[in-house]
Symmetry: C2
Subunit: 296 residues, 2 copies
Amino acid sequence: MPSHAPRIGFIGLGIMGKPMARNLLAAGYELTVHSRSHGPVEELAGEGAAVAASPAAVASVSDVVITMLPDSPDVEQVVLGDDGLASGGGEGLLHVDMSSIDPTATRRIAAALAERGIAMLDAPVSGGERGAIDATLSIMVGGPEVEFRRAEPIFQHLGKTIVHVGEAGAGQVTKACNQLVVGANIEAVAEALALARQSGVDQVAVRQVLLGGFAASRVLEAHGMRMIEGQFQPGFRVRLHAKDARIVQSLAAETGAVTPAFNVVADQLDQLVRTGRGDLDHSALYTLVSQEAAAS
Amino acid sequence: MPSHAPRIGFIGLGIMGKPMARNLLAAGYELTVHSRSHGPVEELAGEGAAVAASPAAVASVSDVVITMLPDSPDVEQVVLGDDGLASGGGEGLLHVDMSSIDPTATRRIAAALAERGIAMLDAPVSGGERGAIDATLSIMVGGPEVEFRRAEPIFQHLGKTIVHVGEAGAGQVTKACNQLVVGANIEAVAEALALARQSGVDQVAVRQVLLGGFAASRVLEAHGMRMIEGQFQPGFRVRLHAKDARIVQSLAAETGAVTPAFNVVADQLDQLVRTGRGDLDHSALYTLVSQEAAAS
């Protein structure tokens, strides 16, 4: 790592954040971490990370601060709240939010940071825990080109497909599109595998042969196998996908877009949450269309 | 080709059938063809195929007869109608129906053929015209294991993924599952790309970055590009996918399966047919959710 490499702060060491922070540490970056949960903080401290007591403290010793948090209010609190990174960081700081949140919140935060001379990129990811661990995430980046160029060497230690998709919020719009497609693809595979089973046809064979044609997808490969095995431990929680579905639907409402098939998927996700299945993996959409699962 | 190789008949030389028949000819099989349209018949005759005047005549000089036809009534007519292959073929003939038709019709035809000592496999495919030309189709085969073994060397000249999925009709059930997934995946990509455009985000960048994560699919790759380019020449016609959607829905009704998201897709396909877009490629689902396309 060259001596002019940026000092990185990392806030939010959950399922995704922890392996991402670890990859940056392994790449040789000087890293300062902060998270609500003590376990991951101590783990990374043991691997060489510095620890800071607040987002402001992280910002005061960093050139770039990455956040990886559950939802829009979490990001707003960590950035703009008491002891938030905005109060600790000065002119020239870059905030890279890799959480998946509402693009409207992103634009609001970016504007508030700009008033303080702090630049922001929205850079949500797809690829799940596996992608975070293996540094093969897909990273969809919104914000100024010059800041994208500044962050790109960092992204290269986290992901494989890194695309600058547009201005502030464009990364989050792209992530909403991603969650629309992933959710609808999971529902499609669930409906197809349930139909196969109801028709007395072997699901393993169906998955295998469909993977050879136009039905092939990463969802059929990964989530289809989960459905066949009845293995719904997360992975990516229904509750979080339901949150993303609300982002898709409010974005559609704001922009006049229509999403008739995805609206059904959003309803199915809400139904899982209402019936106590919000902490299962989102491939549990299968349990709503599968008769054997419904009966159990 | 060994001298004991089966003599093959091929009925139905459309977009899919013609390149498939050509691949069998190129593999060295003795091939007799029949089709309603003269052009493809003459083309294949020029490449060494024999020509027969009726399905019965094809059957009388073949050990295995392949059919590749648009819909259930076409297959019933060609097999069981006047001068149908059942009337020309005797004990020991194998009929391989590679059309995509209703599994109920398949079981009815298989039973009628069995009474005459003629075996049948249902072996619909996925992979489109490109897959037919390149012999990379995915082939989903229903019927007796012994007949599958007999046909397998032939399938290897037509496809890449060849799976025996179950008894008579199981191939068609699998194809219905395939069309469910493909249709829903196309609708999902259409809704996502329309949402991106309405939100002012570049569709090319969205497609590229989504291909790197869990949203990746053959549909996003192939049909997503068609939507971005506004190129809806078939390919696979809306009209045929709407036919397949009816097969999915009657299979679901018969077996008690539920397909809530796909039902929306089936409605969208019907709406395209009703509004004069039945002969476009099925990626034209995009035109129902895209405002620029709707306005034009």
